[in-house]
Each structure stands twice: as structure tokens, then as C-alpha cells.
């Protein structure tokens, strides 16, 4: 039995994961992947299963998913593309253990960098790790492929990647889903430890054997991809047997191609790739049926780059490498149209009588505690001819913009602390690192430990708003009241750990605290506390709703 639901790509994956019988799901919030775990956490509240939780970072999330697989149960792990860099260590080594409970990683890439610091393509990570990768084109495929991914993971004993992109993760359409609790049978199986522990102990003697096995498995991955119904080859049956144009699409590029295809006079030969490794035979068949190949793929020119190694004939291949399609940013119907040689669409003219449509970049919310701290930092460093304020990833990155212009770096999660330490040890003074509470717990603690051991002359400011605000206000792993203990536990001297309120009325006072800690030769930590205005508002609304009786006369609150 099936029913139709309108689901976002991310929700389709989460729904399928429940229907495929996962026991647990782990992740760290990051646009555009966040809704996968959010949806599962909501389901957990309503249904009581599966276990779903945010973790300190993507590495810990991945290891927990791997632990589930170690005892023979299914787990979903989700993150954004750069999150897989953090989880790369366990991910790459987990490809050589023998997984017997399905482990699927849903990774959302962000071509066009709507909310990210780079455009890396997760298909290349899958290739690097020698594991199968599935790339859905629609929310329906996202649902269907999730089942396939779990089955593959168990059949081949490897983790399997579901590669998403922003326009798939955040596209919504009707998805036909299974009804009832189709995952129950798998989910309620008892745990079962591996009967071959040596396969999980990656000391060199075992690792060599396991690596050999992974290499041996490649042929079966290849044959799976070759025969997968997600890799579809459509050759025009009219004569001549050789078409002028052959098109390779992957993932969501299929949808842009379908949008434009009807205007082509001659039907091109078409291969769609939905699962990897590359379906080599199908690619060769396509090449022998056309005179030229256009490759339409979102992200890096991954397929295009490998075609030369796959094809022995000197056929013309065009795409992002050839310069036909921009290698930067997202694709859309227009880029695909141009690539297919279709004329540009007409743009209607509207008379704006000289009105300038001004840019509207994102900015901190009105009353945001981060803003108040930026205004406290600036006068504290104003007296120095030169100063360095490193920072990190979160809402507070907007402190780089007017009217604050208070921070000078944003590289990767936790980098503010390492950058500050390096700069201070190179002789720069004064150096302040500014990091959010959740980013600190994600990847800042180890950097701080380094600074403690060296008693580096720097000041760390932790902006504690009790939330992962940028991704929708998820709760930070530990409450505000315990953050100071974490900092003290790492060994920062108690007299140089200051907790201040991040308030407008405290700006002058906070400036003095920052000045004093800059002047101290050694490591100081200032924790600036006030809840995110967005989550505070939401909390207030929930309270009001709880107090408002509903139409049955009861409380409007479920909790």
C-alpha cells in the first residue's frame, strides 16, 4: 500500500530511512542537510522511534552510526558536504571494515554556495573511498534510493553515500510512500555483533586483507551500477543510428534537461547516471551512438573528467571542463538550454523608471546578542595600531559586514582558535578569536587545549547563545550553565575565565573586560552569554500556545 505526501527531498530521505527500518540517525546541523535529522527527531517525539539525535560534530555522528552497524542494525548519518571533511577519518576507514547493518550517509552539497564556504562535490569523496554513491534527481527518487542504499550497504558490506544538492534537498513535490510501519520488522530485529571481529580491528595485518577485499568488491559495484535501473540509456531509434548529440545527465541535471528537451529538433541519445561507480558499458554504448557528448552534472565535472579514460574513441566531449558550462555555481534551465544549443529565452521588459533594486544581504537579527559583543570588541582594540580578530562559522560570521566589520576570518568549523594561536605564536599582538558555543563544542575544544598547553597569549571569546542559530535554532549540546565547566576542565586558569552578559547596556563594561584580558600575557577565555533572540521568541510563543486553551477545552500544548 502506498500514499502520496508532499515532501522535501530531505524529508523524503528521512521518511524512507524510517520505512527501511533504521534504529538510529545522527548528524550535525548544516544547510542544506539539516531537515533530514530534524524530521527524524520530530518523528521520534511522535512515534517513539527511531532514535535520532544531533551530535557534537559530523565525526562523532558518523562513528555512532558505525557503532549501530557494528551490532547489525541500520543507521542513517546526515551532514552537509563540508561536514564529510570532518567525518572523513572514520568514513574512509569504515569502508574496509565489514558492515553487516546498513550504514547510509546522506550528504548535501551546496553548489552555488547559498550557505557554505565551498562547492566541493561529494561524488568525488565516494570515488575516493571506493564506495557506491546514489544521486537522486527528484524527491521520489530520494525516497526510493534510500531503500536501495541500505540494501546495497548490507549486500556489499560497505557504507553507501546518498549525494544530494541544495535544489534536491530543498525541493518539495508529491512522493508516493509506503504506508503503516514497513520498517518494523528490520527495526525490531535483535542486535547481532559481528562474528568476525578481526574484520573490525584495522591493525595492518587485518587492514591489508580488508583493503584487498574492498578492491575485489569493485567489480561487483561496477556490475551493480551497469545494471541499475537508475542508470538509463535511451538511444533514438530513428535513423541514422548515430545521433548528432549525446547527453549525459546526472542527478538533478536530469530535471533541467527534461525541461528543455522538448525544444530540440532531433532527439539526442541520452544516458542518465543516478548511481556510481560509472556505468562504463552504458557510457561506451552512448558514445558509439552519437557524434558529440554534452555532460550536464551539478557540482564538479566529475563524469566529464573521467570520460577520457573510459572512452577509447576520439569523440568530442563538452561540459564544464571544456568551458561550455560554467564550472562555478549552480546549474539551471538556462545553462542547460545554452549547453544544448537552444536560443536564449526572451526576457520581458519592465519599466522601472530608473529605480535601483538595492542588494539586501543577510544580517544579524534586531537585538542579536552577537551584535552587542561586536560593539564591545571594537573599542577594546581601537587603541592598538594593528589587531587580529579571527572568527568562525555561524550567524556571527555576519559580524564581518557593516555596521560591525568586527571579524576578519571564517574558514572552517573551529578554525578561529587555531588561526589565533598560530598568529599569536608568530608574534602578532593582540589576537582575539571569536567563536559560537556550538562551533566551540564541534571543533573548538581541541584547539583550546593546544592553547592551554602553550599558554598562548590570546583571548578567546565564546559567543554563547545556547543555540545552533543559523540552521534554525537547534539546542546546543550542553546548557549554557555548563560551558564554563568545560572551559575550566580543559585547563584554562580560573582567574582568566570571565563570564559576561551579551547585552547592549553592558557594552562599556564588556569592553573593559576584553581590554584587561588582552593586556594579560597568556590565555584568557571570555564567555558572553545571552540566548538567541529567535529561539527566545519561539520559546515565548510556545508558552503562550500552551496557555491558550484549544477547541476541546484542553491545553494547546502537547508537552
Amino acid at each position: 500500500m502506498r500514499e502520496s505526501r508532499i515532501l522535501q527531498g530531505n524529508e523524503a530521505i528521512a521518511t524512507a530511512a524510517i520505512h527501511a527500518g533504521i534504529s538510529s540517525a545522527y548528524g550535525y546541523p548544516g544547510t542544506p542537510s539539516t531537515e533530514v535529522i530534524e524530521f527524524l527527531i520530530k518523528q521520534k517525539t511522535q512515534l517513539g522511534f527511531p532514535h535520532a539525535a544531533w551530535c557534537a560534530n559530523e565525526k562523532t555522528a558518523y562513528e555512532q552510526g558505525l557503532g549501530v552497524a557494528l551490532v547489525g542494525k541500520r543507521a542513517l548519518v546526515s551532514m552537509k558536504h563540508v561536514g564529510l571533511n570532518v567525518a572523513a577519518d572514520p568514513f574512509l576507514s569504515s569502508t574496509v571494515v565489514s558492515i553487516h547493518g546498513g550504514l547510509v550517509i546522506a550528504v548535501a552539497d551546496d553548489p552555488g554556495m547559498h550557505s557554505s564556504q565551498n562547492e566541493q562535490d561529494t561524488r568525488i569523496f565516494a570515488d575516493f573511498a571506493h564506495v557506491p554513491c546514489l544521486e537522486p534527481a527528484t524527491p521520489q527518487q530520494a525516497y526510493d534510493m534510500t531503500f536501495e542504499a541500505f540494501e546495497l550497504s548490507e549486500r556489499f558490506g560497505v557504507p553507501v553515500i546518498l549525494r544530494l544538492v541544495t535544489r534536491l534537498s530543498h525541493s518539495r513535490s508529491a512522493v508516493s510512500v509506503r504506508v503503516g510501519d514497513p520498517g518494523k520488522e528490520v527495526r525490531t530485529q535483535p542486535t547481532k555483533k559481528t562474528s568476525h571481529p578481526a574484520n573490525w580491528i584495522l591493525m595492518p595485518s587485518n587492514a591489508k586483507r580488508q583493503w584487498h577485499e574492498l578492491v575485489e568488491k569493485q567489480a561487483s559495484f561496477q556490475s551493480f551500477a551497469e545494471n541499475s535501473p537508475y542508470n538509463t540509456l535511451a538511444l533514438p531509434n530513428e535513423s541514422p543510428a548515430v545521433a548528432d548529440l549525446g547527453v549525459i545527465t546526472t542527478g538533478i541535471a536530469l530535471e533541467y534537461f527534461l525541461e528543455e528537451k522538448s525544444e530540440l529538433v532531433n532527439t539526442p541519445a541520452h544516458l542518465h547516471i543516478g548511481v556510481y561507480p560509472f556505468p562504463v558499458e552504458k557510457i561506451r554504448k552512448l558514445a558509439s551512438s552519437c557524434k558529440k557528448i554534452v555532460v550536464l552534472e551539478e557540482g564538479y565535472p566529475h563524469v566529464e573528467r573521467h570520460l577520457r579514460g573510459i572512452l577509447s574513441t576520439p569523440i568530442e566531449v563538452v561540459g564544464k571542463l571544456s568551458g561550455l558550462i560554467s564550472i562555478e555555481g549552480e546549474m539551471n534551465p538556462e545553462t542547460v538550454r545554452t549547453a544544448l544549443g537552444l536560443p536564449k529565452r526572451e526576457v520581458a521588459k519592465f519599466n522601472l523608471s530608473g529605480m535601483n533594486v538595492m542588494a539586501r544581504p543577510p544580517q544579524l537579527c534586531k537585538g542579536c546578542p552577537h551584535g552587542d559583543m561586536f560593539f564591545a570588541i571594537k573599542p577594546a582594540i581601537a587603541a592598538f595600531p594593528e589587531s587580529l580578530v579571527t572568527s568562525d562559522i555561524g550567524c556571527y560570521t555576519l559580524g564581518a559586514l557593516e555596521p560591525y566589520s568586527a571579524i576578519e576570518t571564517c574558514v572552517c568549523m573551529g578554525a578561529s582558535i587555531g588561526l589565533a594561536k598560530g598568529a599569536a605564536e608568530a608574534g602578532f599582538f593582540p589576537v582575539i578569536a571569536v567563536i559560537g558555543d556550538s562551533t566551540f563544542l564541534h571543533s573548538g575544544m581541541t584547539g583550546l587545549l593546544d592553547a592551554v598547553s602553550a599558554n598562548t597569549n590570546m583571548t578567546l571569546m565564546i559567543l554563547d547563545n545556547e543555540a545552533v542559530a543559523m540552521t534554525g535554532g537547534q539546542k546546543t549540546l550542553i546548557p549554557s550553565s555548563r560551558l564554563k565547566d568545560v572551559v575550566l576542565g580543559l585547563g584554562v586558569l580560573p582567574e582568566h575565565v570571565k563570564v559576561v552578559g551579551a547585552h547592549r547596556r553592558l557594552i562599556a563594561e564588556n569592553t573593559e573586560v576584553i581590554k584587561r584580558e588582552i593586556e594579560y600575557t597568556g590565555l584568557s577565555v571570555i564567555i558572553a552569554v545571552r540566548e538567541c533572540v529567535e529561539t527566545a521568541l519561539r520559546g515565548k510563543k510556545e508558552k503562550i500556545q500552551c496557555a491558550t486553551p484549544n477547541d476541546q477545552g484542553g491545553s494547546g500544548c502537547e508537552v
Binding site: 502520496s4 508532499i6 544547510t31 542544506p32 539539516t34 531537515e35 547559498h114 550557505s115 541544495t166 535544489r167 534536491l168 530543498h170 525541493s171 518539495r172 513535490s173 508529491a174 538533478i252 530535471e255 533541467y256 527534461l258 525541461e259 539551471n332 534551465p333 538556462e334 538550454r337 536564449k344 529565452r345 526572451e346 526576457v347 520581458a348 521588459k349 519592465f350 519599466n351 522601472l352 523608471s353 529605480m355 535601483n356 533594486v357 538595492m358 542588494a359 539586501r360 544581504p361 543577510p362 544580517q363 544579524l364 537579527c365 550567524c395 555576519l398 543559523m470 540552521t471 534554525g472 500556545q545 491558550t548 484549544n550 477547541d551 494547546g556
Partner: protein
């Protein structure tokens, strides 16, 4: 039948709720829908848009091609003219009148509204006043949905049903406020 709609707003104004209501209503009428939205950083007071495509055929691209949109529905006047390259000639612009001024170079509002009024097919709605009349300024987005509904290929009944479904979890009061907002918007004339 094919209706492509661009939803424009400033992050945090509630554009995605409108998209959700339209998508559900379209499904009630047996139509195909595809919606594309952007989350994350731009939602912090920046310019945000969502694409919503309704058709009795399969919808392929989640993004509306250039010059193909039947309507731009905007919750803020400046945002209503940001995505004109997606609008077809003869396409509708339906916008709320109240500006969100969070940049220093925002033009005088009277000039901006005059510019919009000059574009044939534009409708400017005082959503804020109507929303307060409906019981809460937070229903501005549904007032705008009401104003747009006169031109959508959807019946008011299916939209009302969808509003009920989307807001029911927030209680009966919120549902009735939003239904009232929808009607006030639908009856509003520029």
C-alpha cells in the same frame, strides 16, 4: 495548464508558509507541484525567494526558467521587483505595501510604490492593516495569499482547506485568523 509562481520576501517574513498552503491546495485539485526554496544564511533578513510550479502535466525543473513565471507574489515591495527576469510579459506582480527597511540605501517608499504601480498587472495590497483586522499582524502572508488567489488556478475552497490543514497544529484561533486574513486579502482591491 502551467502556472509558475515566484515567492519573494525578506528572510523571516513567512513566505514558506504560503508556498506550503499553495502546494497542498494544488494537490487537493489533483495538480502536480514542485517547489524550490532556499534556507540558511539568506534567511537572516536577506532577500529570499522560492519557486512554486503548478501544472496538470509532470513538472521537471524545480527552478522556473527565465521569463516563464505567471506571477511574482511578494511580501515586501522592493522584493517584488528583484526577480523580474523570471516574469513573463503580462505576468502579475502582487505585493504587500509595507517595506522592510534594513539597508541604508532603501529608496523613498512613495517612489518605490509608484514604480510598481506603473508596471501593468501589478497589485499593491495593504497587507499589514488587513492582517491586524484579521486578528494578528502575523497573518500578513496569508492576506497576500488571498490577494493572489484571484489569479491562481486554484479554488478558494481548496486553499481554505489547505490553510486549515497547515495551521491546525497551532490551534483553532490561528486557523480562524488565517482564514479571515485569506478572505480579506481576496476581497482587497488595489
Amino acid at each position: 495548464m502551467k502556472f509558475d509562481l515566484v515567492l519573494a520576501n525578506v528572510g523571516g517574513q513567512g513566505g514558506l508558509s504560503i508556498a506550503a498552503v499553495i502546494a497542498v491546495a494544488a494537490r487537493h485539485q489533483g495538480l502536480n507541484v514542485k517547489q524550490s526554496e532556499v534556507h540558511g544564511m539568506s534567511q537572516r533578513g536577506g532577500a529570499v525567494s522560492a519557486h512554486l510550479r503548478i501544472s496538470d502535466q509532470e513538472v521537471a525543473s524545480p527552478l522556473i526558467p527565465t521569463g516563464a513565471a505567471s506571477m511574482i507574489l511578494s511580501l515586501e515591495p522592493m522584493e517584488s521587483i528583484r526577480y523580474l527576469s523570471t516574469l513573463s510579459s503580462g505576468g502579475k506582480i502582487i505585493t504587500a505595501a509595507t517595506p522592510v527597511i534594513n539597508t541604508s540605501d532603501y529608496p523613498p517608499i512613495a517612489d518605490l510604490l509608484a514604480t510598481i504601480r506603473n508596471i501593468p498587472g501589478s497589485v499593491i495590497v495593504d497587507a499589514e492593516t488587513l492582517a491586524r483586522e484579521a486578528g494578528s499582524f502575523r497573518t500578513s502572508n496569508i492576506v497576500m495569499l488571498g490577494a493572489a488567489s484571484r489569479f491562481l488556478p486554484l479554488t478558494p475552497e481548496s486553499l481554505e482547506k489547505a490553510i486549515r490543514e497547515i495551521f491546525i497544529s497551532k490551534g483553532e484561533l490561528i486557523v480562524s485568523q488565517n482564514l479571515k486574513a485569506f478572505h480579506l486579502g481576496r476581497e482587497a482591491r488595489a
